[in-house]
């Protein structure tokens, strides 16, 4: 086919396609119930894509690249970028989940930082995360060493440690709530449930969280440890390095990138902890602080959820979520940047 004809045809397809998409959108926003509007939208979109695909151009390769990225970009934009922009926007309004009436500027941000319950949640989330990150990584790394040693039945152990991660957090939470409330109080006669003491209740969540997540992180460490080259290990053995020296001087530096990813995953996971918190304590027990009785184990994610859903303050909840995102982004990027420096290139 003649290049010119091809060019004209594909340009026509693009223009027609755009017109079709716009027409469909106008129909939708004007409240038309014409059953064809969906078909017009889809056909229009496909025509635009086809037009670009067949368009003869010097940048054909680039266009193709973008076209093939398009489905992913579209999905990412629709499900992440647009809601995020909306979220930031709503945090500046008095949105109630249905509509908003006024712009309130930074009022939500001020309310948030001056509210005790939020600041308390921030503090205990940091405490929880710090302990949880250390605990999960120590346990997971120890288990990984166990599962890569010459112990008998290590495949069985691997599977067994990994299983808790396959069970949903809500289910696990209720099972463990039962254990803390009913089983432990019977095993230790006369004791009251761990979940009635503010500090022990936080510890209870940490225990379950470590138990659930260690197996998963262990798998990543196992992969890392298996990737340590045999010749390096042999060379160190010839040089007379004992087990501990091998571990600290050879294995750990060589799998520094595994540490990066594992600490990153546990960090994100700890800060976003919701389901176990929701199922095991749902914020209880109470703690008296400055003459006010507050929920003592309400981590940030649960606090945001309750602000929006149970207190019906959607804009404030959204504000907290925006700040949560920023804090989490800063912390995790810092962590990755620091950890990256320690990695060794082979």
């Amino acid at each position: 086919m003649d290049v010119k004809v091809k060019k004209v045809l594909s340009l026509a397809a693009i223009i027609l396609g755009i017109a079709g998409v716009i027409l469909a959108l106008i129909m939708d926003f004007s409240g038309s119930e014409n059953p064809l509007r969906g078909a017009i939208l889809v056909i229009g979109g496909l025509m635009v894509l086809a037009g670009f695909y067949f368009l003869p151009s010097k940048n054909h390769k680039k266009i193709i690249n973008v076209l093939f990225l398009f489905p992913l970009l579209l999905a990412f934009t629709v499900t992440v970028i647009i809601p995020f922009i909306f979220g930031v926007f709503y945090s500046l309004t008095d949105w109630n989940g249905i509509k908003f009436e006024n712009f309130v500027g930074l009022q939500n941000y001020i309310t948030m930082f001056t509210s005790n319950d939020y600041m308390y949640s921030v503090v205990i989330t940091f405490i929880f995360s710090a302990i949880n990150i250390v605990l999960v990584n120590v346990i997971a790394f120890s288990l990984a060493l166990l599962c890569t040693s010459k112990i008998k039945g290590k495949n069985y152990y691997r599977a067994a440690f990994f299983v808790p991660n396959l069970i949903g957090g809500i289910v696990l939470g209720y099972v463990w709530q039962f254990i803390f409330n009913k089983v432990l109080t019977v095993l230790i006669p006369g004791s009251v449930s761990m979940l009635t003491d503010p500090n022990l209740a936080l510890l209870a969540i940490i225990i379950v969280s470590s138990w659930q997540y260690s197996g998963y992180i262990m798998m990543i460490y196992v992969t890392g440890l298996q990737g340590v080259p045999k010749d390096v290990l042999e060379a160190s053995a010839v040089d007379g390095a004992d087990r501990l020296t091998t571990l600290f001087r050879i294995k750990m530096p060589l799998i520094a990138n595994t540490f990066t990813i594992c600490i990153f995953l546990t960090l994100i996971n700890s800060f976003k902890q919701f389901d176990l918190n929701f199922a095991i304590t749902n914020g209880a027990p109470s703690r008296i602080l400055n003459g006010v009785s507050i929920l003592s184990t309400e981590l940030l994610a649960l606090n945001i959820y309750k602000t929006a859903i149970s207190k019906n303050q959607y804009a404030l909840g959204q504000t907290k979520a925006v700040v949560f995102f920023i804090v989490l982004a800063i912390i995790s990027l810092t962590q990755v940047a620091i950890s990256k420096k320690r990695e060794v290139e082979m």
Binding site: V42, L195, S296, T307
Partner: protein, 443 residues
């Protein structure tokens, strides 16, 4: 090369298909979900012309009555040709969130449940005025807006107090009719506690005050008696004070004394770490005499093979007699004013309120108390029967606690009750904590 081309062609087909399916579902929400609530509200001109194919949808927030409602909807369709789709959700606050999602997605049900003042403020622009319906004059508990418009259909009345095991009280020689003030309760609790072995009980009261899951039982229900017990003609003095961030210190102290009495005679583990099921099991197995719950436990009783007699006694915390229990409509059904079949919704509600079949469905099949005075159908469940007596005698106090701000009981009052139950504070401390918590409502 051929293979490559084939694979890429296949992938393109799959992608296009996915795109079509994805976008296609957008259309089908309008037609498939069956409910003509449609996406847009302005466009009412394209009303269903084919009569006899009218379909309305009710979002019910009480999952327990799902089956009887569906049965009634089926019978209603046989009679009138109007299809009523019942959609039931359980789980408190999440219903409001689901409903907001439905509105955003243009999938709003024609009738939906509202749970009180918080919901009313959110949905007030979306509710049809029901003031001219025939059932309005037949009930005292319809949801009336501050402007005096009736917007909520009261499908039931519920009531609670200290629900007792009649057999055990008889054995101990206590007449439940005398339990109308704090001193009567104190004497009764002491007597029952001294007869523990004879009666085979482990504690006198079954209560749960854990702040994570049982806050509603204490911070809503029990606290409701501070707000309403003993008030004349539904006087809203104490709830109005609460909303302004104030408390009546004497009344709160008196209430705290009663609460302490209840907590002191409660099963300790259930009190501070028990769930609803634990609390219920304890009482239903005859291990306690009282339980702080209402007539909604009726449907759960058969699974414990409960044979003893029972009734509800007032949550009477004052020295003087207050002979009435807290009973009110727990939630209401509102009609969505953007729906296309508003009249059909109104007809459906009227049939539930005024016909014999409707009353049978609500009262006998759902096990609830009718909120309509002209209803003659009698409930069969034990606590519902007892509640009916209180309602008919007019010895009830309103549920003012439902007018507390959203989430206040859960986040602010619940922990105070738990602290008190754990013994972290004394009566004076409890009153201070309550005062501080309520002071946060000051504007």
């Amino acid at each position: 090369m051929k293979l490559k081309k084939f694979v890429s062609a296949l992938l393109i087909t799959a992608m296009t298909g996915a795109l079509l399916v994805g976008c296609g579902s957008n259309n089908s929400t309008n037609t498939n979900t069956g409910t003509d609530s449609g996406t847009t509200t302005e466009n009412k001109t394209t009303e269903n012309t084919s009569k006899g194919n009218v379909s309305i949808r009710l979002l019910n927030g009480k999952i327990e009555i799902d089956a009887p409602l569906k049965a009634y909807a089926e019978a209603y369709k046989q009679k009138t040709g109007v299809e009523v789709v019942i959609e039931s959700l359980g789980g408190g606050a999440d219903i409001a969130a689901t409903l907001k999602g439905y509105l955003a997605a243009g999938n709003m049900p024609d009738m939906f449940v509202i749970g009180g003042e918080g919901d009313y403020n959110v949905w007030k622009d979306y509710m049809e005025d029901l003031s001219n319906e025939s059932w309005v004059s037949d009930t005292d508990v319809a949801y009336v807006s501050p402007e005096g418009k009736v917007v909520g259909f009261p499908y039931a009345v519920e009531g609670y107090g200290l629900t007792y095991n009649k057999d055990l009280l008889d054995k101990a020689g206590i007449d439940p009719a005398t339990l109308t003030n704090i001193n009567a309760y104190k004497a009764a609790f002491e007597k029952l506690d001294s007869m523990k072995d004879e009666l085979g009980i482990t504690a006198v009261v079954s209560m749960a005050a854990e702040a994570g899951q049982m806050w509603w039982s204490v911070a809503n229900h029990n606290f409701g008696s501070y707000l309403a017990t003993g008030v004349e003609n539904g006087d809203s003095k104490y709830i109005d004070m609460l909303k302004k961030g104030e408390i009546d210190r004497d009344r709160m102290t008196q209430y705290a004394k009663f609460l302490k009495l209840l907590f002191d005679y409660s099963d300790k583990n259930t009190l501070i770490s028990g769930t609803y099921d634990d609390q219920l099991a304890l009482w239903a197995q005859g291990k306690t005499v009282f339980i702080h719950q209402g007539n909604w436990i009726d449907p759960s009783l058969p699974s414990y093979n409960v044979t003893f007699g029972m009734g509800i006694a007032p949550s009477a915390f004052m020295e003087q007699d207050t002979d009435g229990i807290l009973a009110d409509a727990p939630s209401w059904w509102a009609v969505y004013n953007g729906g296309k079949n508003i009249q059909a919704c109104k007809d459906f509600l009227t049939s539930l309120a005024t016909t014999e079949e409707g009353a049978k469905c609500l009262v006998q099949d759902c096990g609830m108390i009718s909120s309509f005075k002209s209803t003659t159908v009698q409930p069969t469940a034990p606590l519902a029967t007892d509640l009916m007596k209180w309602v008919q005698a007019g010895k009830t106090y309103p549920w003012h606690w439902a007018k507390m701000p959203d989430g206040f009981a859960m986040n602010n009052l619940g922990p105070v009750f738990e602290s008190f139950a754990k013994g972290d504070v004394d009566i004076e401390g409890f009153v201070d904590l309550m005062a501080n918590a309520i002071a946060t409502l000051k504007q």
